[in-house]
């Protein structure tokens, strides 16, 4: 996606001052004839390096994950770990494959709750972040509350939320949103303030309205910050949804874990199957956010590594 800064054919010193090479703006390096340099070899070396980097980028994570599960599987055999303590990963996969409907059904419930909580937190944080970014008073008045939400363990007041909002989706949504809210809030305030001050002055010089500046400058500038928050919030949303199901639901992977914990001998596979599916859901969501980030933030320096 990224391209290096181009040579400026009009003013770049290198284009005019060096006499033993010519630059064609129509083509690329193929048209660069430099005495004593094998351009074809340089291009071939670049291609080899690009292939190696692609392999590193996609191959290394796969190798890391496979090595981890292979070591786990091996440890079960070598140390003869009983199944009720820690089942082998292959046994867990077989268990999930034996009852996929159970995991699809409960996984969908948890994913929906996590998605809703994530989305509600994002919208509320953007509204709150906008107010805070525009008003130092609101920021200073709200920040202690935001810190309190973050530092108080959600598990401590989750039962109170279930008492207030009742058993079911509403409570789980509140818990999940609360867990995701602060990272989105802090990053949205920082992001909305990250606009180049020269750009803001340019917008003022044509008397652009604050609303227009928000949509056309502040919000796009905040996207890199919001994506950073989203990567953190994906995991938090799943934590919130599972925790909510512990206290206020009779379905979902959190509830499946809770019931398995009550009967660990009989349901140890269900416990680990749920953990596997949750990990898979988090991984896929993170990949989706990464893909969206690459598309929407192709212009940002974070995407040009």
């Amino acid at each position: 996606m990224s391209r290096e800064p181009v040579m400026d054919p009009v003013t770049d010193m290198s284009a005019d001052a060096v006499t033993d090479r010519t630059v064609s703006t129509e083509g690329g390096l193929e048209h660069l004839a430099v005495q004593g340099v094998d351009i074809a070899e340089l291009l071939a070396a670049d291609n080899r390096r690009a292939r190696q980097q692609a392999l590193l980028r996609f191959g290394a994570p796969v190798i890391g994950v496979v090595a981890f599960f292979a070591a786990w599987q091996l440890a079960i055999v070598i140390f003869d770990i009983p199944r009720y303590q820690l089942p082998a990963p292959w046994d867990i996969v077989k268990h999930i494959a034996g009852d996929p409907g159970f995991y699809i059904r409960n996984g969908r419930v948890t994913a929906w709750e996590a998605f809703l909580g994530f989305s509600v937190a994002l919208v509320l944080a953007l509204i709150g972040g906008t107010l805070m970014a525009h008003s130092p008073f609101i920021e200073r008045a709200s920040l202690p509350l935001a810190v309190l939400i973050q530092v108080t363990p959600i598990i401590a007041y989750a039962p109170a939320i279930v008492i207030w909002f009742g058993f079911g989706l509403k409570s789980i949504l509140v818990i999940t949103s609360l867990v995701c809210f602060v990272p989105f809030l802090v990053n949205s305030v920082a992001g909305l303030r990250s606009v180049d001050p020269n750009l803001l002055e340019l917008a003022r010089s044509v008397d652009a309205r604050k609303r227009v500046i928000f949509w056309r400058l502040r919000l796009p500038s905040s996207l890199p910050f919001l994506f950073s928050a989203a990567r953190i919030a994906v995991g938090l949303a799943l934590i919130g949804a599972v925790l909510g199901e512990f206290f206020g639901s009779r379905e979902g992977l959190g509830y499946a874990i809770k019931t398995a914990q009550a009967r660990p001998i009989q349901l140890i596979d269900q416990l680990w199957g749920s953990i596997f599916v949750l990990g898979l859901m988090g991984g896929v969501a993170t990949l989706l956010i990464g893909a969206l980030e690459r598309v929407l933030l192709h212009w940002h320096s974070s995407q040009r590594l």
Partner: protein
């Protein structure tokens, strides 16, 4: 060549050149009258501008020259209505700076290119003119064909679809320059736009700027700390001094138009440079 120093020739300044440059009221585009500006911070005050008087003619290219902290950027921002004076008045063709800003009388070219990183070159040059289209009234921007023509003139025709991070610093500054002109505003305010560029690119940019200025007939207020740049570009150079920020002298440049690079070797050019350098040194605190 006309040169005056406000400090030692105050008694005749009003007759010869008090910054009004002999302009008639009909030809005056920007009139700055006894403007003061004081910055306050934690009980401390800095007199950024003291009793500044200056008339700028329609279509004139005027440079504000001076050391850092002499108030030249502040004066530019006061003219553009981006900050208000603490005393005195600024008149932009019969309007206050704030009203002139609302009627889109100003194009601004800042020191850094300040391009929108997620927009291509062709979207960047139109960014300000399309920023708040629903806001009615005001000066009309250039047409698409005229803007495309400007892009070609500055040598960016092949880079219309490029993003800022794909361009060199000089190319980014050319985008910023075209963006300033694309508004079609009658007054262009330029705040050391070439300060961060290397000398070769900078020299190239000066003549590109002159070409665009001559084509559009815009009134240009150009802030710089480069004497040679001020001389080769300007009709008049306003020398500013610091502590307090004030106009120390106004030098009319007696070089013909259009300006060409060979003029930089002429005795007249060097004489202007010598006089301006001497004035800057005289008023350097």
């Amino acid at each position: 060549m006309m040169s005056t120093t406000m400090d030692d020739t105050a008694h005749r300044a009003s007759q010869v050149d008090d910054g009004r440059g002999g302009a008639t009221s009909a030809s005056v585009h920007v009139s700055i009258c006894d403007v003061h500006k004081v910055f306050r911070r934690r009980g401390q005050t800095v007199e950024a501008l003291r009793s500044v008087n200056l008339d700028i003619r329609r279509g004139e290219f005027i440079s504000l020259l001076g050391p850092s902290g002499c108030g030249k950027s502040t004066l530019l921002r006061v003219i553009g209505g981006l900050t208000g004076p603490d005393a005195g008045t600024v008149d932009i063709g019969g309007e206050s700076p704030t009203d002139a800003r609302k009627s889109k009388q100003f194009g601004l070219v800042p020191q850094t290119p300040a391009l929108v990183p997620w927009a291509t070159v062709e979207r960047n040059v139109r960014f300000l003119s399309t920023l708040d289209q629903r806001r009615e009234g005001g000066h009309a921007p250039l047409s698409d064909a005229e803007i495309d023509d400007l892009i070609e003139t500055v040598g960016l025709g092949k880079f219309r679809k490029s993003y800022p991070h794909e361009l060199s610093g000089g190319m980014q500054q050319r985008v910023s320059l075209v963006r300033g002109f694309a508004l079609g505003a009658p007054i262009l305010l330029m705040d050391e736009p070439f300060a961060a560029l290397d000398e070769i690119t900078r020299a190239d940019m000066r003549y590109l700027l002159l070409e665009l200025w001559q084509r559009t007939g815009t009134t240009v207020v150009f802030v710089t700390h480069s004497i040679t740049e001020a001389v080769i570009l300007s009709d008049r150079v306003v020398v500013m001094a610091a502590r307090p920020g004030r106009i120390a002298a106004v030098e009319s440049i007696a070089l013909g138009r259009p300006r060409v690079p060979t003029m930089e070797d002429s005795p007249e050019f060097h004489e202007h440079v010598r006089v301006l350098r001497s004035q800057l040194q005289d008023h350097h605190a």
